[in-house]
C-alpha cells in the first residue's frame, strides 16, 4: 500500500501524469462540494442566525422532526413535485412535436431552428420579467389580445390555480427548446433504412413512429426527460421574479422556501435542514440519471 502511494507521489514517473491532470479539477470540486456539505449537516443541527454575533443553539435532529410535521414545508415539497411533473410532461410532449416538425429537412426548417434556441440562452430573470409584464392584468398584452378575441381578461398571477399554470407556461417557454434540441438530435441520427423498409411493407406512419423510430430515440428521449426533471427540481429564479411563492403558497417551491427561510427569515439552521432533505431527493434522482447515462455510454 505504502509502496503504491510512493509510486503515485513520484513526480518523475511519466505514468502518473494522466492522474495529475485530473487532480486539480477533482480537488477543486471536492473542496467546493464535500466540505460545504459536511458543514451543511453541522449547520442543520443548530439554530443558526445569519448575524455572527447571535448565539447558535445545538438541536440535534430537532429541526428535521419539526420539518416533517411542518405543513408549509410539506406543501412546498408537493408544489415542487407537481410543478416538476406537470412542466416536464408538457415540455417533453411539445418538444417531441416540435422536433418532428423541425426534423423534416427543408429549407424553411433549417432557418427556423435558431430562433427556437434563444429562450434557453437568456437569463431566467429576463424571461420571468418579460412574462410578468405580459401577464400584467391591466397593462399586459395577453389580456388585451384575450379581450379582442372575446375570451375576456384573465387574472394570470392573482389566483392560486392561475399562478401555478402561469409559471408552467413560463417554464415551458424557456425549456421546450431544450427538449426539442435533444429529441431533434435523436431523430436526425435515426438510420433511415428500417423506416423505408417499414414504409415499403405498408406500415402506417404512426406504426413506424411507435415501433421503429421511437425505440431508437428512446435513450436520448430519456436523457431529455431526466435532465429536465432534475433542473425543474431546482426551480427558483422564475418563481422569485414572477410570484414570490404566492398566491396562497401555490408556487412556493422548495428552492424558494429554502432561500426565504435562510436569507429573509434569517434561519440558516432550519434552511440547512431543508437543504439536507432536498439534497437527499436530488441524489436519488441523480442516481437514476447516472445509471441510465452509464448504460447508454457503455452500449456505444
Amino acid at each position: 500500500m505504502s509502496n503504491k502511494l510512493t509510486k503515485i507521489l513520484d513526480i518523475k514517473r511519466v505514468k502518473n501524469y494522466p492522474l495529475y491532470m485530473v487532480i486539480p479539477a477533482v480537488f477543486i470540486l471536492l473542496l467546493l462540494t464535500i466540505y460545504p456539505f459536511i458543514y451543511l449537516i453541522f449547520v442543520s443541527s443548530h439554530i443558526w442566525p445569519i448575524s455572527p454575533t447571535l448565539p447558535r443553539i445545538f438541536l440535534g435532529f430537532g429541526q428535521f422532526t419539526y420539518l416533517l410535521q411542518d405543513p408549509t414545508f410539506i406543501e412546498s415539497l408537493q408544489v415542487t413535485i407537481k410543478l416538476m411533473v406537470v412542466g416536464v410532461t408538457i415540455q417533453i410532449a411539445l418538444g417531441t412535436l416540435l422536433a418532428i416538425l423541425l426534423s423534416t429537412k427543408t429549407r424553411v426548417t433549417s432557418y427556423f431552428t435558431l430562433p427556437f434556441m434563444i429562450p434557453v440562452f437568456i437569463s431566467p430573470v429576463v424571461v420571468g420579467l418579460i412574462w410578468k409584464f405580459m401577464f400584467n392584468y391591466d397593462l399586459g398584452i395577453l389580456n388585451y389580445l384575450f379581450e379582442i378575441v372575446g375570451i375576456g381578461a384573465v387574472n394570470w398571477l392573482g389566483t392560486p390555480q392561475n399562478a401555478f399554470w402561469s409559471v408552467v407556461i413560463i417554464d415551458t417557454w424557456q425549456w421546450t427548446p431544450f427538449t426539442t434540441l435533444i429529441i431533434k438530435a435523436g431523430l436526425d441520427s435515426v438510420d433511415p433504412t428500417p423506416v423505408e423498409a417499414a414504409t415499403v411493407d405498408g406500415a402506417s406512419r404512426f406504426q413506424i413512429f411507435r415501433h421503429v423510430t421511437f425505440p431508437s430515440i428512446a435513450p436520448i428521449f430519456t436523457v431529455a426527460l431526466l435532465f429536465r426533471t432534475l433542473d425543474a427540481f431546482k426551480a427558483f429564479d422564475i418563481i422569485y421574479i414572477v410570484t414570490r411563492g404566492g398566491p396562497g403558497g401555490s408556487t412556493y417551491v422548495l428552492g424558494y422556501n429554502i432561500w426565504k427561510t435562510a436569507f429573509y427569515q434569517n434561519q440558516l439552521g432550519l434552511a440547512a435542514a431543508m437543504s439536507v432533505i432536498m439534497i437527499i431527493i436530488a441524489t436519488v434522482l441523480a442516481f437514476i440519471l447516472v445509471r441510465i447515462m452509464k448504460g447508454l455510454l457503455e452500449r456505444e
Partner: protein
C-alpha cells in the same frame, strides 16, 4: 419522416411551426419594443403597436444614476474569469480522461452528479464560509462559485470534442518524436479549437445569466446584470421601461454569441450527448 406529405398535412405542419414560432419569438419582440417606448406609451391602454421610438429608458439605464453599466461590467468580469478558470481546470482533466481513460466511467459520472446539486443547497454553507473569509461581494466570489456549475459541463464538452480526434493522429506524432506537450499544443489544441471556444462561450453565458448565486453573494460592489435588472422591481412600483431596457441589454451578448456558436453550444447544454 421523409416520405411524401399530402397537401393538407403540409399546411398543418407549416401552421403549427408558425404558431410555435410566434409563441417563442413574441415575448422577445415585445421586450425590445417596450424598451423603445416612452413611459406614456408603455402605460397606454390598449397597448400601442405603433409608436415613436424613444431611447429615454436606455439613456437612464446607461447614466451614472442607475449604475447599470457597472453591473454589466461586473457580469463581464465574473463571466470571463470563470470561463478562464473553468477551461484551465477542464482541459487537462478532459485530455487525461479522453486519452488515458483516467478514472473511467465512474469519474465521468461523478462530474455529472455534481451538475445535479441544486445551487441553493450549496449556497447556505458556502455563504457562511465565504462570509468568514470576507469574500462576499468581491469580484472573486462568483468566478469561484460558478466553477461548481460549469466545470462538469466543460469537462464533458471538451472530452466529447477530443474523443472525435482519432488516436492514430496522436500516435503517429509520437512515432515522429513529438513529446506529450507537443501533441497537446500542436495537434489536439488546433484540432479542437472550435470546441475550446464553444466551451469558453458556454461557461461565459451560463455565468452571465446566473441569478440565485449572484443574488446571495453580492451586495453592492459586485452586483451582476440579472440582479441589477431584478432590482428595478421596487416596493412602490415596477419600472417596466427600465426593466425591459435592462433586460434587452443583458440579453444582447448571449444572443450574439448564440448566433455565432450555435451548433457547438448545444453540445454543452446537453453535456455532449448531442453531436
Amino acid at each position: 419522416m421523409i416520405g411524401r406529405i399530402s397537401r393538407t398535412e403540409l399546411i398543418l405542419r407549416v401552421s403549427l411551426l408558425v404558431i410555435f414560432f410566434l409563441f417563442f419569438m413574441f415575448p422577445i419582440y415585445w421586450m425590445v419594443v417596450t424598451s423603445l417606448k416612452n413611459t406614456v406609451d408603455i402605460f397606454a391602454i390598449p397597448p400601442k403597436w405603433f409608436f415613436s421610438i424613444s431611447f429615454e429608458n436606455y439613456w437612464y439605464i446607461m447614466s451614472d444614476d442607475s449604475g447599470f453599466l457597472k453591473k454589466i461590467l461586473n457580469s463581464a468580469i465574473a463571466s470571463t474569469l470563470n470561463a478562464l478558470f473553468t477551461l484551465l481546470l477542464a482541459f487537462p482533466a478532459a485530455y487525461s480522461m479522453s486519452r488515458y481513460k483516467t478514472g473511467g466511467i465512474n469519474l465521468l459520472m461523478w462530474f455529472l452528479s455534481i451538475r445535479m446539486i441544486p445551487p441553493i443547497v450549496g449556497a447556505i454553507p458556502l455563504f457562511i464560509i465565504f462570509s468568514k473569509l470576507g469574500l462576499v461581494d468581491t469580484f472573486i466570489a462568483l468566478p469561484i462559485l460558478y466553477i461548481i456549475i460549469n466545470l462538469p459541463f466543460a469537462i464533458w464538452m471538451i472530452k466529447s470534442f477530443m474523443d472525435e480526434i482519432p488516436k492514430e493522429i496522436d500516435e503517429s506524432a509520437y512515432v515522429e518524436g513529438c513529446s506529450t506537450t507537443g501533441v497537446i499544443f500542436k495537434i489536439i489544441v488546433p484540432l479542437i479549437r472550435p470546441g475550446i471556444f464553444a466551451t469558453l462561450v458556454f461557461c461565459f453565458i451560463m455565468s452571465w445569466n446566473e441569478f440565485l448565486i449572484a443574488y446571495i453573494f453580492t451586495r453592492k460592489e459586485a452586483i451582476t446584470a440579472p440582479v441589477g435588472v431584478a432590482r428595478f422591481i421596487t416596493e412602490r412600483q415596477i419600472l417596466w421601461g427600465y426593466i425591459t431596457a435592462g433586460a434587452t441589454l443583458a440579453s444582447i451578448l448571449p444572443m450574439i454569441l448564440l448566433i455565432i456558436f450555435q451548433k457547438n453550444l448545444v453540445r454543452g447544454l446537453t453535456l455532449g450527448a448531442v453531436k
